[in-house]
């Protein structure tokens, strides 16, 4: 299985401005979030990257990703709202090929740029199936993520077969359906925001979107259907992902890039100075 196409979604009403935000990357370069994501894909061996955008955002996104080393496509999301539909908008681009998918409102910080996507692509290529990157996540964060339930794959410490996928489960539901052997109590495998998906996913989306339900089907429900149709794995990531859309999300992502990059010492020094200069406050833990 060859994976050389990637789809980045950046069309959500509340996230469409996030890929355009500028950050200083690990090398000290001033770049947009979108450019950093495209580079992540490129370093994982992608040759073409499609960015699904809100209609009218094509040029803004194109300039944000200027200078990319791969071929870029900007696809306006059509036919309605929703994450599942955003992926489906890239159906013509992916055709009958598997593809890497990244969400446009997250940044991934691994051992080096591109390491996260590369590891995921390598696992999917080896296992010849869809693989979603996941991270062990405390139950208090369940309202923010999709989560999977499954069993460890024999002979592997970081791969799981996926039995069920639930979007933003309540802890009650998670406890009943998503407990995974080997994880600590109260921890679940939540999506990392990065997937390798086979063309079957697009077939699934074809059918569930055609049904026209209200509210529109979630991406997680499509993944649940995918799990019932074919082998589907989850890869446990030890890297960090940063949700840019939450309070201080962009700030935390910037700090993570800086502390893992060239300017680590300088930034660390400044942070310590900042801490020293801050008035002491009682913190409730």
């Amino acid at each position: 299985m060859t994976i050389d196409k990637a789809v980045i979604t950046a069309a959500g009403p509340s996230q469409r401005a996030l890929p355009l935000q500028r950050l200083i990357d690990r090398d000290g370069q001033d770049r947009t979030v979108l450019a950093i994501l495209v580079e992540e894909a490129a370093k994982a061996g992608m040759k073409q990257v499609a960015v699904v955008v809100h209609p009218g955002d094509e040029s803004a996104c194109a300039s944000a990703a200027e200078g990319a080393s791969v071929k870029l496509h900007f696809i306006p999301q059509a036919g309605g709202a929703g994450y599942a539909r955003a992926i489906w908008s890239a159906r013509d681009f992916t055709g009958s090929d598997p593809f890497l998918h990244l969400v446009g409102d997250h940044l991934y910080v691994g051992s080096e740029p591109g390491a996260c996507a590369a590891r995921l692509v390598e696992a999917a290529t080896r296992e010849r199936c869809s693989v979603s990157a996941v991270q062990a996540t405390h139950e208090s964060l369940l309202p923010n993520y999709g989560a999977v339930g499954g069993q460890p794959l024999t002979g592997h410490t970081d791969l799981y077969t996926v039995d069920s996928v639930i979007e933003k489960p309540t802890p009650t539901l998670a406890e009943r359906s998503l407990v995974v052997p080997g994880l600590r109590t109260g921890q679940y495998l939540c999506f990392f925001g990065m997937h390798v998906l086979t063309p079957t996913l697009m077939d699934v989306l074809d059918s569930i979107l055609a049904a026209g339900s209200t509210p529109p089907p979630s991406f997680s429900s499509a993944l649940q259907a995918l799990a019932s149709r074919e082998r589907y794995l989850a890869l446990l990531m030890d890297a960090r992902r940063y949700d840019l859309g939450v309070n201080y999300g962009l700030f935390m992502a910037q700090a993570a890039l800086a502390l893992n990059g060239r300017d680590r010492d300088e930034v660390l020094t400044r942070l310590v100075q900042l801490l020293a200069a801050s008035p002491a406050r009682k913190v409730s833990l």
Partner: protein, 1103 residues
């Protein structure tokens, strides 16, 4: 003994079901003691929960019944005080160890066995309760709530649909839930312990129903919950039917269950995970949690409960279904139930039911597992489930905590059967609201002991359920009526005789007499009869029957209410089977209104505020309510009621106050004495702590060898007694002026008239039993024994009415009532007395969650006493509930003051002796031997005492500064001393009339001189100590709701007469069967099982 352990552990069903009584039949004392040692060792070693529990119940039963029955165990023994305090603190293992050490050192005794029986029983129930608690926590979907301890870890979010606001208001989620009735009565097989040990026998036929009190509209789901987001960072809880509302801003307030009437709503908030149980004890504000929950700073939630006109004690599991309804609404709102509106999926129903169990445990209550059946629709068979390897219960118990619900389709319950059932059944609330907790404990114990008759009856009840199912499939409701009647008459009352009562039996008899064969049968709902009940009739006469049943209920209640505690006026319901179970609707923000009564309750406080201080949502809500109330109907009525609520209430409270004053006047209330007592109490001169004898008093035990026993009563005394009886020189006096508050928990009815037990085929009251004993004692002699019942302001009229109605129970001898001549007005207690009672004296610690509730309740009651004014008069209740009898010391002097003794002496000049006893000492009779013993001794008073057992609390016989006398428990300087006393006061005394008169001092001739009698009584009363006591008094309100308040009162007690140096008192040790008192309804079952009831019956002549 190996055989008992084999019974517990055997896989062979026949052996496992061997009744304990049969297994120990014929065993000698040594064998029984050996069996106890083996069982104790076994229960410490076995890892199987139910083996352990059954061994504990075996041990308890052997000590309580088998050993005393042998007659060879010494009656006297010393119960170590430390074992008692450990027992009260629920440290049962430690208590048992201390008692077993004492047993090894001193040898066995009935006293030690009584303590061991109680400790083993306590440990057995605690083990079972702990297991249910563990199972509730280990249910998948519940566990996360116990590890979430901080708002930062809080994982729930309100569903987006509930956050779409309009003018500051948010949508309302409205959940409605039917209640359940149990068509077969399950023989209580839905008790968790039973279901978990005997899943194959745990089955109930459970029907969800809508209700309306006849004449008040169409049946609808009886309980409702409303949930919405509000623009204040609080949890606002409102109970429309209990007229209570509160805003909670701190986590700790959510866990304070008994602070107000909103404990059920708080339990729902916790059990639904909105404030997870793991946060208990966190000293935190709710605001951060609510911000995470709603996603909006400064926002919170409001939960409103409403019970549609269904009174408490309906036996239809209203409370559990309301809890489930509230939990369902909260879980839907937070996405834990997959559907926001409409019905629920089966998995979600089970989850809600599991959370309802958790909520009941949190709230310190607890029903059976079928109680949340209203969450499911229609008719269903609920069954125990065998634990499988994947279940958390596997290896611990045979069954799972949660049962399986099978909805019965039309081929098993045809539509015609459902319709016919509705057309035949007259569903009622009989008006009684009793605590079924003791009954559930009895059922559990009898099941684990496999008592022969009860076990056979359980099998019969299981068979009846199959027959009911069969009849239902054939739409044969008449057949069902006959089965439910048979179930009530035989298995149910065989297992628990107290499930039936005189009231219910009268209702059945009267229905049968009036409707003959068209009355198809009675149907008991829930734990016991008297509250929710059903009467099945030929559908053709159901409308008339419903009307007549209402009359029969009301008439029978009026007839019995003097002696039977009713909480409310009986009602008849209209009902229909609910086809959809718990159901939810979402009302959009623009149209969202709470029920009309919500505004009547909450609007006055808002309207009294400056309008600018209202939040936008509050303002919009009031505007919307105003607009609706202009449309007429129930909204307009609510508007009018709201106006009434805005104005202070005056007329009613004035009339209650004047009625109380009139009562006080008419019963000889002594205002001067009352003011003195009040002043003394407020100043601290008298109080609970001051009741005690000075610490310098030397109080020592009277050794058992110092008193003559019943075996010392030889034939010479019998013949002296027989002569006295033949001469008509003895009268019986039963003290019945007291409230019997432990019997009815302060319900204000006459204990003496309570038909509490079926003897010789009928329910009999204390009065009837005492008269039957006097009849039998009189039978061989020409003159019947005169019998006097002393009464008080509270008991006199019901007594008169009851004796008139029952033609004095056919008693042919002189029968007199001696009305009370003194009355007291209760006080709001001093908080120091409440603290002394609750903190300084040993108190029974309850199961962990119940203890939390009671501590919260006590904190609330101390606040109540402070707010109401410590030491001030207690007037905030029905007038009769504000008065109190002034203690039984006055009851005999009252016979002097009211002329009853003089009349008696006129009628029977030969009268020389009185047998005085408490109304609850049922074994006391005019025994010729004891009478002869008393006469022969020449004493002024002979007091009967009994060997002390664990439950005999409240003083006893002691040597005080060298003189043998009775000492009240209130007067003992320390609790420990009581445990050194061998004898307990039975309250039965033989009194020489002339010598007693001399103590006043009076003569027979002076009894005609009222002034001399009054002065003599007053002078002697002044020499008697006054004890301040705390008593529980019930205050009823709403629809069957009851509050219990501790109030202070004073009393003088007859036992203190033994301290008078001029009165020659002797003491006689009598057997327990003669001297024990029935103080508490919970004693009844043991009273029957240990042979006491049969002994009493043998003393009676019912003709």
């Amino acid at each position: 003994m190996d055989r008992l352990i084999a019974i517990i552990t055997s896989d062979d069903e026949a052996l496992r079901n061997t009744p304990l009584d049969r297994a120990v039949e014929g065993l000698t004392l040594d064998h029984l003691l050996q069996a106890c040692r083996a069982l104790d060792s076994f229960r410490r070693q076995t890892s199987n929960l139910y083996h352990r529990v059954r061994a504990l119940f075996f041990l308890s039963s052997i000590h309580r019944y088998s050993l005393p029955r042998l007659g060879s165990v010494p009656a006297f023994g010393h119960i170590p005080f430390r074992a008692y305090t450990q027992f009260l603190d629920r440290r049962f293992e430690e208590s048992i160890s201390i008692l077993l050490d004492a047993d090894s050192a001193d040898g066995p005794s009935e006293a030690l066995s009584s303590a061991l029986a109680a400790a083993y029983r306590g440990l057995a129930f605690q083990t079972l309760a702990d297991q249910v608690r563990r199972s509730v926590r280990s249910i998948s979907g519940n566990q996360w709530m116990f590890r979430c301890g901080h708002a930062a870890d809080y994982p729930l979010r309100i569903r987006q649909e509930l956050l779409h606001s309009s003018s500051g208001r948010f949508p309302i989620l409205r959940e409605t839930t039917p209640v359940r009735m149990d068509l077969s009565h399950s023989a209580w097989s839905d008790i968790f312990f039973l279901g978990m040990d005997y899943p194959e026998g745990a089955r109930v036929l459970n029907i969800s129903i809508d209700l309306a009190i006849t004449g008040r509209g169409q049946p609808k789901p009886p309980v409702e919950a409303h949930f919405r987001v509000i623009d204040r960072p609080v949890i606002r809880l409102v109970s429309v039917d209990l007229n209570a509302h509160v805003e909670l801003s701190a986590v700790a307030e959510v866990f304070d269950f008994a602070k107000d009437y909103l404990g059920l709503l708080k339990a729902a908030v916790i059990a639904s995970g909105i404030v997870p149980p793991g946060m208990e004890g966190a000293p935190a504000s709710l605001a951060p949690l609510l911000e995470r929950l709603t996603g909006h700073p400064g926002h919170g939630i409001e939960i409103v409960s409403k019970v549609n006109d269904i009174p408490k004690g309906s036996r239809l599991a209203v409370s559990t279904n309301l809890l489930a309804c509230l939990i369902a609404a909260c879980m839907r709102a937070t996405g834990q139930v997959s559907t926001l509106t409409g019905a629920m999926e089966e998995d979600d129903r089970r989850l809600v039911a599991a959370r309802a169990i958790l909520g009941e445990w949190l709230g310190g209550s607890g029903g059976g597992w079928q109680d949340s059946g209203g969450v499911w629709p229609g008719v269903k068979l609920i069954r125990g489930v065998q634990a499988q390897p994947a279940d958390p219960e596997f290896g611990i118990s045979r069954g799972c905590l949660l049962p399986r619900h099978d909805l019965l389709p039309d081929d098993r319950v045809p539509p015609a059967a459902r319709q016919l059932l509705q057309d035949s059944l007259v569903l009622v609330h009989g008006g009684m609201a009793q605590d079924v907790g003791p009954i559930l404990e009895m059922v559990t114990e009898k099941y684990l002991l496999r008592s022969a008759r009860e076990w056979q009856a359980r099998g019969e009840a299981v068979g009846i359920l199959d027959q009911v199912l069969d009849r239902l499939a054939h739409a044969d409701i008449r057949g069902i009526g006959s089965l439910t009647q048979r179930n009530f008459d035989a298995p149910i009352q065989t297992i628990i005789p107290w499930a039936g009562n005189h009231y219910t039996q009268l209702l059945i008899n009267r229905a049968r007499a009036e409707f003959g064969s068209r009355f198809w049968g009675f149907w008991m709902l829930g734990g016991m009869a008297g509250g929710g009940m059903g009467f099945l009739f030929d559908p053709e006469i159901k409308p008339q029957a419903a009307t007549r049943i209402q009359h029969i209920l009301s008439e029978t209640k009026r007839e019995l209410e003097g002696g039977v505690p009713f909480a409310m006026e009986p009602v008849v319901y209209d009902f229909r089977i609910n086809p959809r179970g718990s159901w939810s609707e979402l009302v959009p923000a623009a149209e969202a209104l709470m029920p009309p009564a919500y505004y009547v309750l909450t609007a006055p406080a808002l309207l009294r505020r400056e309008s600018r201080s209202l939040t936008p949502a509050q303002r919009a809500d009031l505007e919307h309510f105003g607009a609706r109330s202009r449309e007429g109907g129930e909204w307009a009525a609510a508007g009018a009621t709201l106006i009434d609520h805005l104005l202070p209430e005056t007329a009613q409270s004035k009339s209650a106050s004047s009625s109380l004053d009139a009562l006080l006047e008419s019963h000889g209330f002594d205002r001067v004495q009352h003011s003195q007592i009040r002043a003394d109490m407020k100043s601290g001169r008298i109080g609970l702590a001051q009741n005690r004898l000075p610490a310098s008093a030397r109080i020592t035990n009277v050794d058992p060898g110092e008193l003559p026993g019943i075996d010392g009563v030889h034939s010479r005394f019998v013949s002296i007694g027989q002569d006295a009886l033949a001469q008509g020189s003895i009268a019986a006096v039963s003290l019945a002026g007291g409230a019997g508050s432990r019997w009815t928990r302060g319900a204000g009815v006459v204990k003496a008239l309570n038909p509490f037990c079926k003897i010789a085929g009928r329910h009999r009251s204390f009065v009837e039993i005492h008269l039957a004993k006097s009849r039998k004692a009189s039978r061989p002699y020409p003159l019947a024994i005169p019998h006097v019942f002393t009464t008080s302001y509270m008991t006199h009229r019901p007594f008169e009415a009851s004796l008139a109605r029952e033609s004095s129970f056919g008693y042919q001898g002189p029968l007199l009532l001696s009305p009370g001549r003194s009355v007291g007005l209760r006080f709001i207690p001093m908080t120091r007395d409440l603290r002394f009672a609750w903190e300084e004296t040993p108190q029974q610690v309850l199961d962990v969650q119940k203890q939390k509730v009671i501590e919260s309740l006590r904190a609330g009651l101390i606040q109540w006493a402070l707010a109401a004014g410590e030491g001030s008069d207690y007037r905030d209740n029905l007038p009769l509930q504000c008065l109190h009898p002034t203690g039984h010391w006055y009851e005999l002097p009252n016979m002097l003051r009211n002329g009853v003794l003089a009349r008696l002496l006129d009628e029977r000049p030969s009268l020389k002796t009185l047998l005085l006893h408490n109304i609850d000492t049922l074994g006391a009779d005019v025994d010729p031997g004891l009478l002869g013993f008393h006469l022969d001794s020449g004493a002024a008073m002979t007091v009967e005492v009994i060997p002390r057992l664990l439950d005999d609390r409240g003083g006893g016989l002691a040597r005080v500064d060298g003189r043998i006398r009775l000492v009240e428990g209130l007067a003992l300087p320390g609790e420990r001393i009581e445990f050194d006393l061998s004898f307990y006061n039975s309250g039965t005394m033989w009194i020489d009339i002339d010598r007693m008169l001399a103590a006043f001092p009076l003569t027979r001739a002076q009894l005609r001189d009222q002034a001399a009698v009054d002065a003599a009584v007053r002078d002697l009363a002044a020499r008697m100590p006054s004890y301040v006591t705390i008593k529980d008094v019930k205050k009823r309100w709403g629809r069957g709701q009851e509050d219990i308040f501790p109030v202070a009162q004073f009393e003088k007690l007859w036992g203190d007469m033994t301290a008078l140096p001029e009165l020659d008192c002797r003491y006689l040790s009598v057997p327990r069967l003669r001297g024990q008192q029935l103080k508490d309804v919970a004693q009844l079952d043991g009273w029957v099982r240990d042979g006491s009831a049969a002994h009493v019956a043998s003393l009676c002549d019912w003709q």
